[in-house]
Each structure stands twice: as structure tokens, then as C-alpha cells.
Amino acid sequence: MAVSSRPRQALVLATTLALALSAAACSSDDGGDSGSASSPECAAYDAYTGNDGTTVSIYASIRDAEADLLEESWKQFEECSGITIKYEGSGEFEAQLPVRVDGGNAPDIAFIPQPGLLKRFADAGKLKEASAETKTMAEANYAKEWLDYATVGGKFYGAPMGSNVKSFVWYSPKLFAEKGWKVPQTWDEMMQLSDTIAGAGIKPWCAGIESGDATGWPATDWIEDVMLRDQGAEVYDQWVDHSIPFNDPKVVSAVDRVGKILKDSKYVNGGFGDVKSITTTSFQEAGTPILENKCAMYRMASFYANQWPEGTKVAEDGDTFAFYLPPVDPAKGKPVLGGGEFTVAFADRPEVQKVQTYLASGEAANNRAKLGNWVSANKKLEVSNVENPIDKLAVEILQDQSAVFRFDGSDLMPAAVGAGTFWKGMVEWINGKSTSEVLDQIEGSWPK
């Protein structure tokens, strides 16, 4: 992928070699049925042996190059434990998983990025409760607020794995340095900066919310991030679990705050056109005008690091980097919006539980992080294993004690809203509908 691909490839190659060697080491003295445990490389995997020759299937939305790295990361686990992991990634994951589960063809393990969907499967009795080992491992490695998202009716279903931080604004350090602009520390500073940039004849903001059949989600992220800042975490929670209505004045206030940026043609949409062009610009290409100085800022999650064209240097002194989306009132703490996927199981065979436990472990997080482009809220994750600067920054934010972390709200809401009317409503809102009209409509669609 994009981030200076050559060193990465070299790294992958090196890791592959290392793994191949260790695999050879594993198999060379593989005399007995669990002889692998004796080799030093496999020492860390002792707890997972005893199920030689079994297969565990995993289904998730992670695919293409990212999926290759993921499979790479558990190679050693497979070699040492003797458990084969059959991974399948699909872009249609969210729609396909319910079909497979209802059709009786569920995978052993799924990585579900939506706690709302997780809850639906848990309520329907489809999920298996996590084993005691998995639970212990998860409690040791993840903060309670993360585990709560995977706990339904007092039962714990699985640990988080990868995470991302969404409260980032991408910018061009070069352009900022050249013009003497400073990274803003508060919301007001950011708005002043926007005016300054607009005054310099550059559109301050880029945006794009087109994303195939998930079109609209980048706009809902905007709203959530600002909800956290404009109203605070408590109101955010009430909004997400519908104890205040979707068209509450507090929500209106947050949405209008976003509207001051996204619906003002003075500020958007650098490189693409007017306000409405946001609806048809894909989120993947929306940030690229930053490199041509056609726009200055683009609010998008940490994983956007993968979307820059090849050869782009992502670093604090590089072609592009991201700053933390500043709070409205810094005295109220440091709100962080993020997401991640949860490893839940539809089967409770011992090998499935072992894989689930492994995925919650520090080894799993570090093994994956070493391959690059990955962030996790796992406490055992060593920052030194995280190679690229933006991921480092994300890990620091996730491990920051003063940060007030909240999960992406649309992933927590019922899918009819969180993956439906909220997305669609935001598209209509940017396309010209008024805030109140859109929020009333979303409120009306909340499942009773």
C-alpha cells in the first residue's frame, strides 16, 4: 500500500523469511504430536497447543493487502499450535454475515466492527460466550470501556483486535510551514485558521462521503466527532442509545456546527467543486488535493494513511500528516472517536476458543503491528513495534489516560439508523436539505 512501500515490502520479506525459518525450526523437531512446544520460537504459544490438525474459519471485512498482512501475522501461531486458520475477507461482510448465520453456515470466528450487529447476534443466541481464558486475556489487555462494547446481558463475547482513531485532520506540513500556519489547538483556532486559509485563496477543507453502498458514513463520523466536542461524552451516550431523541436541540447544535464547515462553499470542497460535490466524491480520493495544495485540511481516520498515492511521505515533516481534531473546550478533556473490530465466535470448539484467546493476546497485537499499518488499543502493544508515525500517534492517543474515548456512534445504533437512515440522511443534508428536516426524518426511522 501507499506508505513508502519499498521499506515495507522489505520488512514483509524479512518477516516472512524469519517466519519460514522459525517454521522450519518448529517442524524439524516435530517428533511427537505437540513437539513444537519445545522450540524457543514456539514458547509463547504453549497455551495454544493440543489441537493439531484442526481448522478454524474466520470471516471479516478486512481484505486485499491488509488481509495478507493479517494472515502473515498469525503464521507462526498456526505453525506452533498446529491449528490452521482459514481466512476470508469480503467487502460485503455486513450484509453477508447475517445471511450466512441465518442460513446455518456461520464462520467459526467473525471480526465484527459494529457492536450493534454483535448485540443482534448475541440477543438471537447465535454467538458463543467467550471462554474463561479469552476473558482473562481480554481483561488483562484491554480497557474496560472497550470490553463493555462486547458484553451483552452480562455475557462477554470477545475481545477487540484492531482499532482506529477517527479524530484526525490530515494536512500538508509543508504548506503549513511555508505559510506559517500553526496546527490549531482549539475549535475556534481551527475556524480562524480556516478563514486565514480561505483568505490565502485556498479552500481550507476537502470532504468526500461517497463509499459505494456505505455512502454517507464519513459525514456521520464528522457529526459524532463534533457531538463529542460540542456536547460532551454523556450527551453523546444518551444520543447513541436513544435516551434523547435524534432531533434533540443538542444534536441540532452539533450538526449545525459541522454545517458551518461542510455546507459553506467558502470552505469546501477544494479540488472537487461546490458543497454538493461532497456527496459524489469518494472518501478515498477526497484527501488527495492536499498534496496539490488545492485544499488544506481533511478530517479522516488514521487508516487514511493507506490511501495516499505511492511515494507520499506520511510524517510530521513529510508530504502529509494528521493532527488531532481539537476540542471545543480543552478544559473538558480530550474526546477521541474511534472504532475497531471485535473477535466473536459462533462455535465453541476448543481450537476456536484458542484462536480467540490468541487474538486477544499481546503477541497477536505485536505480531500484526510489526508488519505495519495497524493500530490496536491492546495495552501490551509496544509503541516501538509500530512503525509509521501516524499509527504511533494513534496508539499514543489510545493509550492516553486523559483521553475520553467513545466508539463510533453509528456502529452502536440499530443498523436501520446507523447503517441506513443516518448515512442517507447525511447525504441529503449535504445535498441541500435542512438540519431539522433531516434529523426529524432519522428520528422517525428509529426502530421501535
Binding site: P98, A416, G420
Partner: protein, 352 residues
């Protein structure tokens, strides 16, 4: 890529083809052998009967047996198809109807609530109206363009080439077609236009527009894509039908001194009526189920949603199985007029 990787797949293919030969061949063989066996037995029985009683009920008995046997035989011919239809479509259809009477996660009976919901939500009413637009316009436009083109290129110099140009889009998937036309409608706010339509539009002096954002024009632009795909189908069938009109009918009309228009309306059109019906029925049903084009191009945003896409979203993405199923049942209802039309046709055919 080594051959070993393919070997299991190719042997699977081989099994499939062998399975096909065995199943179909076996079925035909069975149909050959079994009736013969019964025929022989019946003959023997008849002989025996004629020996014991010289006259009487034997012939009637024979006919009844024969009629009965025809039914059994028909069943044997139909069996594979009926079994598959039962498993693959009938049971799912019944299940859909049952689900439509239950709530989102199918845990409680809600009566007709889901149907009331269809007409209560403004958004969904919009979806119904859009679908109505599709079902009226697509068959009409696709058939008209196909017919017009068939008449015009008939016996033209490059007829074969001209025809293949039109039915090329049929080979393209709906998703592929969606991508092609998204490219045509593409919009750039700054710099050169990369979309064909905006380029032409600016050539004639217009401001570049975001075609897919503006209703109801955008629905029409999506309909164009479907017409683009289906017109070739209409053209091929209608062209063949036109060529088959007996020349004596044409000659007679000409002697009566009819104008070309009259000729078209009074001779050509009535003569190709059966072909026209095939075309319109097929395109209509395809249009009711249209889903991919809208999903690829606008994902139902900007008031372009249609029933099949909303059904998919409700049932699979929003986990509202009840509402999704109700929309599917709505599609079943939509097709009833076409079914009645078919029944009338079939009757007329049997009488004629």
C-alpha cells in the same frame, strides 16, 4: 500457476458434467423403459380381458388408464424442475410471506404493520413511485427503441454490424453497465470535465451539472442505463419477427393502397404482437427486480431508490426482515397483472 491447483477444480467440473449426463440420460432412459413395461403389461391385460369378456368396458378402462398414465408421465418429466423450484423458490416465497407478518428480528407476530409501514413512510412511498416509473418507462422505451432500430436497419447495408452494436450491452453485467454510465455522468467541479455528458453539455453552453444528484432527472438517467441494456434484446426478437411477416399479407395491404404509417400500424405491429408480448413481459419482470444498477450508481440516494434495493437493505443491512419481506411481497403483487395477462393469452392459444 501450477496445474495441480486447478486439478481439483477441473475434476469437479468433470464430475458435474458426468452428473449431468447421468441424471438427464438416466431420466430419459427411465421414461423410455417404464412406460414400455407398463404398455406391455396393459396389452397383456387387455388380451386377457378380451379373452374373458368379448365386449364391454375394456376401451374406456384403457382410456382412463392412459389418461392417468399421461399424468404420471408428465410428472416424471416435470419432477426435476418442480423439485428444484420447490426448494429454491416456492419455499422461500412462502417463508417471505410469513416473515412479512412478523417484526424486524422475526420474534413476534405484527399482522399487517409492515405493509402499513410501506405506505406510511414518505421515503418508501417515493421508492414505490420510482419503481412505477421504471416499470412503465423501461419496457416502453426499450421496446420502442428496439423496434424503431429494427425497422430502420432492416435490409440496410451493414445490417449485421449495426445490430451487433446495439445488442453488445446485453453481454455486460448490470454492475459493469453501472460503472460505464457513472463515467458518462461524471462531474468535475474544477478543471476539465471527464464525463461525456458534461462535456457535451458544456459544448452547447451549459454549466456542468451533477446529473445524479438532481431528482427526478437522475431516476430517468438511471432508467436510460436499463434501456441501454434491454433495447438490444427487444431489437433482436422484433427484427426476427418483422422478417417473418408473410409477404402476401404485405402485398395485399399494398394493393389496398395503405400509407407506410398505416402499413406499420395495421400490418407490421399486429403481425409481431406475439413477439412484442415476449419482449415486454420479459423486460417488465426484469425491471421490477432491478437492483444492481441503482446500487452501483447512486446507492438509492438522491431519491433514486427502488423496491428491490430497499428490500435488500431492509432485510440484510438494517436487519428488518419483516419490512424487507413486505417489500418483496409487494413485488409479488406487482406481477399479478402480468400473470393474468398470461392466463388470458394461454386460454386464447388453447381455444385457437
Amino acid at each position: 500457476m501450477e496445474f495441480e491447483d486447478f486439478a481439483p477444480k477441473l475434476s469437479m467440473l468433470l464430475y458435474g458434467v458426468i452428473g449431468f449426463v447421468v441424471v438427464v440420460g438416466g431420466l430419459l432412459l427411465l421414461l423410455d423403459v417404464v412406460p414400455n413395461y407398463f404398455a406391455r403389461r396393459r396389452e397383456a391385460a387387455l388380451v386377457a380381458a378380451s379373452l374373458s369378456t368379448s365386449d364391454g368396458p375394456a376401451p374406456t378402462l384403457g382410456r382412463r388408464v392412459r389418461k392417468h398414465r399421461e399424468g404420471l408421465l408428465g410428472l416424471a418429466f416435470l419432477l426435476p424442475a418442480l423439485l428444484l423450484l420447490l426448494i429454491g423458490l416456492v419455499i422461500p416465497a412462502i417463508r417471505t410471506i410469513l416473515l412479512s407478518l412478523r417484526n424486524g428480528d422475526s420474534t413476534a407476530f405484527v399482522g399487517l404493520d409492515n405493509y402499513l409501514w410501506i405506505f406510511r413512510e414518505n421515503d418508501i412511498v417515493r421508492v414505490l413511485l420510482n419503481t412505477a416509473g421504471w416499470v412503465i418507462l423501461v419496457p416502453l422505451l426499450a421496446t420502442s427503441v428496439g423496434l424503431l432500430y429494427a425497422v430502420m436497419v432492416d435490409r440496410a447495408r451493414f445490417e449485421a454490424v449495426a445490430k451487433s452494436l446495439i445488442f453488445l450491452p446485453m453481454a455486460i453485467s448490470f454492475v459493469g453497465a453501472g460503472i460505464i454510465w457513472r463515467f458518462v455522468y461524471a462531474y468535475r467541479g474544477e478543471g476539465d470535465q471527464i464525463g461525456l455528458l458534461n462535456w457535451l453539455w458544456t459544448l452547447v453552453g451549459g454549466e456542468p451539472r451533477q446529473w445524479l444528484n438532481e431528482g427526478p432527472l437522475n431516476t430517468f438517467l438511471l432508467i436510460v442505463v436499463m434501456v441501454w441494456i434491454q433495447a438490444g434484446f427487444a431489437m433482436v426478437i422484433l427484427s426476427a419477427a418483422i422478417k417473418a411477416i408473410p409477404s402476401d399479407i404485405v402485398e395485399a395491404a399494398r394493393l389496398d393502397g395503405v400509407t407506410p404509417w398505416q402499413m406499420f400500424w395495421r400490418v407490421t405491429l399486429p403481425s409481431i404482437r406475439p413477439a412484442l408480448i415476449v419482449v415486454i413481459v420479459t423486460i417488465s419482470i426484469g425491471t421490477m427486480k432491478i437492483f444492481d444498477i441503482v446500487r452501483t450508481m447512486t446507492n438509492g440516494n438522491f431519491d433514486t431508490n427502488v423496491v428491490a434495493l430497499e428490500m435488500y437493505n431492509q432485510a440484510f443491512r438494517y436487519q428488518q426482515a419483516g419490512q424487507g419481506s413486505a417489500l418483496a411481497v409487494f413485488l409479488f403483487i406487482l406481477v399479478i397483472p402480468i400473470v393474468i395477462f398470461q392466463i388470458r393469452n394461454l386460454r386464447r392459444q388453447r381455444e385457437g
